[in-house]
Amino acid sequence: MSANLALILALIVPLVGTVVIALLGRWPNIREAATMITAISLFACVIRVLIGYTSGEAIGIEVVTLYEGLSISFNTEPLSILFAMIASGLWIVTSVYAVGYMRGAGEKNQTRFFTCFALSIFAAMGVAFSANLLTLFIFYEVLTLATFPLVTHKGDDKAKAGGRTYLGILMSTSILFLLPAIIWVYALTGTLDFAQGGILAGTIGPAASTVLLALFLFGVAKAAVMPVHSWLPAAMVAPTPVSALLHAVAVVKAGVFTLIKVVIYIFGTEFLIDVPLESIAVYIAGFTIVAASSIALMQTNIKRLLAYSTISQLSYIVMATMALAPFSEVGAAMHIAAHAFGKITLFFAAGAIYVAAKKTEVGQLNGIGRRMPITMAAFAIGALSMIGVPPTAGFVSKWFIIAGAYQLENYFVLAVMVVVTALNAAYFLPIIFNAFFKPEDQAPAKPHGEAPWTMVAALATTAALTLLFFLFNEPVLELEYSIVGGKS
């Protein structure tokens, strides 16, 4: 199978999967099997694309041309492959986890859940492999719409309110900021295709570039830069598998992915360096990092804490990208992977705690490490990754970000990284300590052990990945070097 075909399949497989899963509602076990098969096939396709790319095969498809310079097309480059691999790979793990969670928690409307999940992954693949801004925009919006039923899954008033905030912020930023930005790019250059070195050079002045950059920064609300970040905490009303894969991995990474693509392939780093006010973006991201972590410090609900932590970590990526140093760009790309592994572990753990012990608040976790050692160990690994301590994945990406800042003598970035490390430690370490070393406040009504084995297996896997990434990150590094090395 050629790499081109694999690319096409990478899009079709999840779409077909969506339909099949929807039809299999009456046979839950077969339905779950369908999800697994779809996930594994998808991952296989993405691997094939990776192999094809690294061996230099030409990959690209144009599906339909709507107008001059406007088409729906797909191709690949290092970032797309990275994002696609993470999303599809973690889908497999999440599906295993989700089965355990949905059955353990007795959730209703499971077919709708799994169907929308598959559709969301389809949208994520579309975002990953898009060859131009139009295609990316379409799939970006499909992602928002496909995840909406997942966010409002519970159907109660809180879910509806959360859903409204979610949809409201994402749609209005898309239509009022992102869309004008895209139209502006088209008006300037007559095309929307991503290209090495960017397409805007020579068409726009520095002042206007700043405005355009700002439009993108706030238009891509999925990257959760403040102040367009409030959809993320609002989305926590969703069941945890949703929060885990989508709001730790797929949706938010689609956001930062878009920003990185825009910076590298629409603006071009060379071009942006000459825009004096570009550093404002760095300051905004830096502010988000510190502010979000500070808010996280004050949270009592586990998932909300994790949500604000996510907002903070996402801005690591944004800040690193906007710093425009080669090392920090690589660090940003690495952090897409690192954060994904770490955060998904944390969310898995939170979900396991909910299913096994019905606990949702940080304060309730005293002594739970003894009842759920594997879960809390995984939690600890994830937390260490967030803080950025070896031997976890988070350390690797942080290393590069700091190296990049050092390269360009950007002391602001350095300062922010130091401060946020301290903050992360401040809110994660106590939880781990209390879980393992404090006695339980009161014995639970029904003594419990770990969560269902599927959930435990999943979180153990991702925790392991977090550790492995520390050790075996060469291939990813090579790949991402090529973005900043220039040629791909």
């Binding site: 107008y67 749609m171 009022l176 008006a187």
Partner: protein, 492 residues
């Protein structure tokens, strides 16, 4: 017969109407009307083909050459509009029998079909003719039949709505007539082509100016440009569902056609936009109409009324394109004529289905629609996406062209206005979708609409997507027509 296509286009439904009156049974009348409509649709398709291949078609009625006699003149613009009108008429008619059974008293149903055909013939006659006074005559036919059709609605307020429309519509028609009269006074002819040639000589007279003013105001009334749109919300809301579906998709578009025909063919682009501040008047009114109507529709409890205000907004888009006075703007307007017909036709058919099963179309009737009537619900969602302007739908195509036209002229605020309009559309469509998805229905359990209503509904929704992806037909025709009109195309 091929040579007679232009007149057949109008005569088929025209003569079928009195025949419907003679047929006593409603079902028979419906079947007959459907066959005739389909024939008219075939004719319009053939006409478009002919015009595309061979240029302007001229047909002399009564065998008298123009300007002594009346001429039917089919060029790319009206062939296109004819296609829109006849396709919508036929598709809506597919579901009419079912819907009408529940909404109109039994003994009036035959008259319904007769009036429907008369309205259809009237609209076609306005579009196909090349004679200004003939436009007025068929305008009367279509208007009178529309008033009667609206008044057939179940709700008592339908009478008031029809009356309101009658008063305002008659004023509009009278203004148009006065304008035509003035033009005749100054040129001695009623033939459009002839008028176009003769107006140049008398351009600077105040009489022609007055004629211009009356005609623009008169047509603006009929096409519901803000602030002359006051008749529309009530008329659409209280008319029988199928009537709303048909006229929402066609009547205002035909009025747009009349405006374009007068502005570009008869008066000419340089007169209309060069001598007068037409752009400065049309564009602000279009924008205000667009924004205010979209905003008002968000809070409407009656969904039909919500869509009616949405129509006023969409007409704002169309007039915006015309007001820009550029080929690209005109293309956008022409595209939206086609696209809005598909969109609104589909959405109102969805409402017809809801009314049929649920007894009404208020927001309360839409609760839980996703579970009780999923096919209808999803059709509404997809139609809503087209209204918002999501890529891959026809709504996107026209909005895109409008944006391109604005960029070409460097008018960035207009781009923002169009985008804000889309955002507002998200709000009012989203409200209905949210209620349908989350709400608790009164009577749970599947109660889907009958196939006779679902089929025309899904035909239109599918068309929304098909023409949103394969835009060769619509863009091809619209661009050519616009270029020709801007060039002052006449008589060639």
């Amino acid at each position: 017969m091929l040579a007679h296509l232009p007149i057949l286009q109008v005569i088929l439904p025209f003569l079928a109407a009195p025949i419907c009156l003679i047929l006593r049974k409603p079902k028979l009348a419906w079947l007959f009307a459907l066959i005739v409509s389909a024939a008219a649709l075939a004719v319009s398709g053939l006409l478009l083909q002919q015009v595309y291949a061979g240029g302007v078609i001229s047909y002399e009625l009564g065998g008298w050459a123009p300007p002594w006699g009346i001429e039917y003149r089919i060029d790319l613009l009206n062939a296109y509009v004819l296609l829109v009108v006849s396709s919508l008429a036929t598709i809506v008619l597919l579901g009419a029998h079912t819907s009408v059974q529940k909404e109109i008293e039994a003994h009036k149903q035959t008259w319904f079909y007769s009036l429907y055909l008369l309205c259809f013939a009237g609209l076609l006659g306005i579009v196909a003719t090349g004679d200004a006074f003939n436009v007025f005559v068929f305008l009367e036919i279509s208007s009178l039949s529309t008033y009667a059709l609206i008044a057939l609605g179940r709700d008592r307020r339908a009478l008031w709505a029809a009356y309101q429309y009658l008063i305002m519509g008659t004023i509009g028609a009278t203004f148009i007539l006065i304008g035509i009269g003035f033009l005749y006074m100054m040129t001695g002819t009623l033939n459009m082509n002839d008028l176009a040639m003769r107006i140049d000589a008398v351009e600077s007279t105040t009489t022609v100016l007055a004629a211009f003013g009356f005609i623009v105001v008169g047509t603006s009334l009929k096409l519901a440009l803000f602030p002359l749109h006051l008749w529309l919300p009530n008329a659409y809301t209280y008319a029988p569902s199928m009537v709303t579906a048909f006229i929402a998709a066609t009547a205002t578009k035909v009025a747009v056609y009349v405006l374009i025909r007068f502005l570009f063919t008869i008066f000419g682009e340089s007169y209309s936009f060069g001598r007068h501040p037409l752009a400065e008047i049309l564009i602000p009114l279009a924008i205000i109409g667009l924004l205010s109507a979209s905003t008002v529709s968000i809070s409407q409890p009656l969904i039909k009324r919500m869509l009616a205000y949405s129509s006023v907004a969409q007409i704002g888009y169309i007039v915006l394109g015309i007001g820009m006075g550029s080929a690209l703007g005109l293309t956008a307007s022409l595209l939206h004529v086609f696209n809005h017909a598909m969109m609104k036709g589909g959405l109102f058919l969805a409402l017809a289905a809801v009314t049929y099963r649920m007894g009404g179309s208020e927001i309360g009737h839409m609760r839980g629609l996703a579970r009780t009537m999923p096919l209808t619900f999803w059709a509404f969602v997809l139609g809503g996406l087209s209204l918002i302007g999501v890529p891959l739908t026809v709504g996107f195509v026209s909005k895109w062209y409008l944006i391109l036209a604005a960029i070409e002229l460097g008018w960035w605020p207009i781009v923002i206005v169009v985008l804000v309009g889309s955002l507002l559309a998200v709000l009012y469509v989203g409200r209905v979708v949210e209620t349908g998805w989350f709400g608790e229905p009164e009577k749970p359990g599947r109660n889907e609409a009958p196939p006779s209503l679902l089929i025309p509904l899904w035909i239109l929704i599918a068309a929304n997507f098909y023409f949103g992806i394969d835009t060769r037909l619509t863009i091809g025709v619209a661009e050519n027509a616009a270029a020709w009109l801007m060039g002052g195309g006449s008589g060639l």
